[in-house]
Amino acid sequence: MSEQTLKRVDLIFGEYSNEKYKVLANTLERTNEDILKDILESGLRGRGGAGFPTAMKWKFTAESPSDEKFVVCNADEGEPGTFKDREILLRVPRKVFSGMAICGRVIGANKGYMYLRGEYKFMVPELMKELEIYHEHMKLLGLNFPIEIRMGSGAYICGEESALFESMEGGRGEPRNKPPYPTTSGFMKKPTVINNVETFVNVLMIMRLGPDQYKKLGTTDSRGSKVFSVSGDTPIPGIYELELGMPLDRFVDEFGDGDTKAVQVGGASGFCVPRKKFKDTVIGFEGVPTGGSMMIFNSSRSMYNVLHNYLEFFEEESCGQCTPCRVGCQQLLKGIVAVKKGEKKAAYLDQLMKLSESMKITAKCGLGQSVANSFSSIVNNFKEEMIY
């Protein structure tokens, strides 16, 4: 990938086509098989961070027999350092709704929902206006796929898909056991496709450009582009759409302030990459995946404080349901404080490292399995900062 350079892309935020919902209308004239084939061909993987192949998810849900199916757009953008869905929803909501409608047609869903982060309540009036236009155009097309907005209430865990369904159903936002997966039992225990905001936009862009042109972007494992939320010690924080599969050193060259010590890729639940590994780190599913968050730290930052901050966040935002995540986060936090204060020997960090390994493999949900990522990557790379 070394020949890869940073390519600014303008797919996601690109202008709407002249005619409202034209791409959607054109797409809906095609057969489901045809649409699915294009998405499969494009190599699109989920943009929420986990990177499940979108076409497979849709295909499984389409094949699940049920009288009722749903499409849910996960707009509960809660990962610290991520703010790209906010921008997408503010600037190109039409593309999101179009992507959802295409999904609805392909899987045979009755209804679509957008689960919107509680803090994004301010954008509801604008979204409702756009939804009205969307519904009008669907009526013109003689199609019926209503989309409704459901509000979250500020719990980080509700970004986890099954906790999100629980929340939508009026329950407590706690992840469910898997299997069954949403493709067979999601919202209201019905087959459901749940995708990130950006994934739906990508689908629409594949429909507009065709898979061949889309595929030109990115690498074999990570096709297309990605919207990044760049923050921290950078002179140019903000939202950037970049090609996937870029090496991290190139990214730092462009966004760092010349004194970058580490980049936290993927938010608080992601991985911390230290300077010495920038060159060998690829941002993409073959390397370090991200839901969009890129936090840059320069040498003035204490990585102990960074980790302390993340662990405080998780200690509070774990749903509290399963033991490894609920108690593990408390132990990691209390543990690094004890080591820093000298109440525990430095070797206690090794004990905590073993614990973090157990947390990763035993927690009930994807979040619980990833809360220890920042701990292990920061402690591994900046151990001296933890102790002294």
């Binding site: 200690e315 349901q321 609920r326 209390k334 543990g335 157990s358 493999i361």
Partner: protein, 597 residues
Amino acid sequence: MSKQINLTIDGISIAVDEGTTILEAARNLNIHIPTLCYHEDLCVAGNCRVCVVEQEKVKNLPASCATPAAEGMVIHTNSMKVRMARKHIVELLLSEHNADCTKCYKNGNCELQSLASQMLTGDHLFLDLVPDKKYTIDMFNTAIVKDDSRCIRCQRCVRTCEELQSVSALGVAYKGNKMKISTFFEHSLFEVVCTNCGQCVNRCPTGALIERNYIDQVWDAIYDPTKHVVVQTAPAVRVALGEALGMATGKIVTGKMVAALRRLGFTSVLDTDFTADLTIIEEGHELLSRLKRALVDKDPSVSLPMATSCSPGWIKFIEHTFPEYLPNLSTCKSPQQMFGALAKTYYAQKRKLNPKDIVSVSIMPCTAKKFEANRPEMRSSGYKDVDFVLTTRELGIMIKQAGLDFEELPEEKFDNFMGSSTGAAVIFGSTGGVMEAALRTAYEIVTGREVPFDGLNITPVRGTEGEVREATIKIEKVKPEWSFLEGVELKCAVANGLAHAKTLMQNVRDGKATYHFIEVMACPGGCLGGGGQPIPTNKEIRTKRKMAIYEEDMGMSVRKSHENPEIAEIYKDFLEKPLGHKSHELLHTHYTPRKRY
């Protein structure tokens, strides 16, 4: 036959039905995977993660309780990864848990404790989190104590309250490090919809939910020479007490229990079954009188169906959930309360005792009875009808404290006075029992003949777990004074577990079903599965207790309440007639509508 799934567990191949979990498959192979949040009676939660196992070619360790077996799976239940993870999880639970075991009521009977000893968690791998927490103990309730410092957040209680009982008094509050099991606005259990059924207590793996115990108060009364301590024992206790004392499940230990109570120092050992028979007489007449008023007098104010009122959990449930149906409840007190009222009146008179010197103790399979005994309306004798209610478990503890070798005790009989009973009273301990006992008597009052069922066994009304049982009994060739009942098809329904009681009441409310008489027991299986019974509980254990109850019924020489010789005597000497003035004063009660949260 359902599809078979082949998998390998610890090197052993096994074929199981599709849908079987890894945990169940392992149990089929006698491989014991430890669990905490898992309970046979409840839906799978998969939140404690103690039961994780290693699956080859899969990075994460799946929870065996929540993961269905899949074709070709290769599972290791005791690999290095699994042992390390499991030990970590138990250590994490302990770090949040007030592990002051010697001061805990559940010491020696705690699933977390035994798991900790099994895992040898003496290492204190992690820091103690308990000092950072502001744990509270809810001690305001007269029946159940909730100690958050002992809670491991497995949510068994929450699932019990919601699924089995549809009460949802307990729920999860807050998240992350503050996550706890709580109630509506964190009120005391005393102030919310909790029915005190104690099913959560039966399923709590630790000492977080326990009965409020009155063991010391009872010992004090026994040791007080000025007190005359009478004890009554409920029907379901005698088929379960043995379990608390190391005996096999489903053993009938009536005689040994009586012997033990005498040795503990109770002045007289009496039987709640006596007042169970009395309940049948009163309740049977009440039903017939309601039917007469409805069918003959066409009195629109008569509330039918009439519902039984023996189960105090059910009483509090209906007070909260269907207050508009309170007139449908039989006004009869429960046998425990009838007994208490009579102990301080009839018994005191006969024995020439001052009622203030009598301490009335009851041994119940139930925690709700503790609340019932403390109801303000339960003082019709002029004194508190029942002073202390002990659960089966508490009696077990007292017997152990006294150093009695329970299994070696001789079989003794209840005292003569207020101690005789019938098979009809024994079956009060099982779901459908009150119904069956009432029918045995009411049918005979009306027709002069025994119920037309082989061996008096009215099997159609014998409740089963997990459903509302319905039965219709046709009344024919009645005595002249009951001519209005000729040809009437008496419609009955039986429910056990409050979730099913709710379904039953909703059907009644929505007009989907019409009945004359319904029996509801708050606990799964009836009193034999009560919240005060020995722990653990599951369907198999309850079935064995149920078989023992019906065995006890079959073994009784008198099996109809109205044939209990002491019943005739008490009406002659004291109560005069069923539903008479004195009955109303002492044996009947009223109910209070309560709020819905």
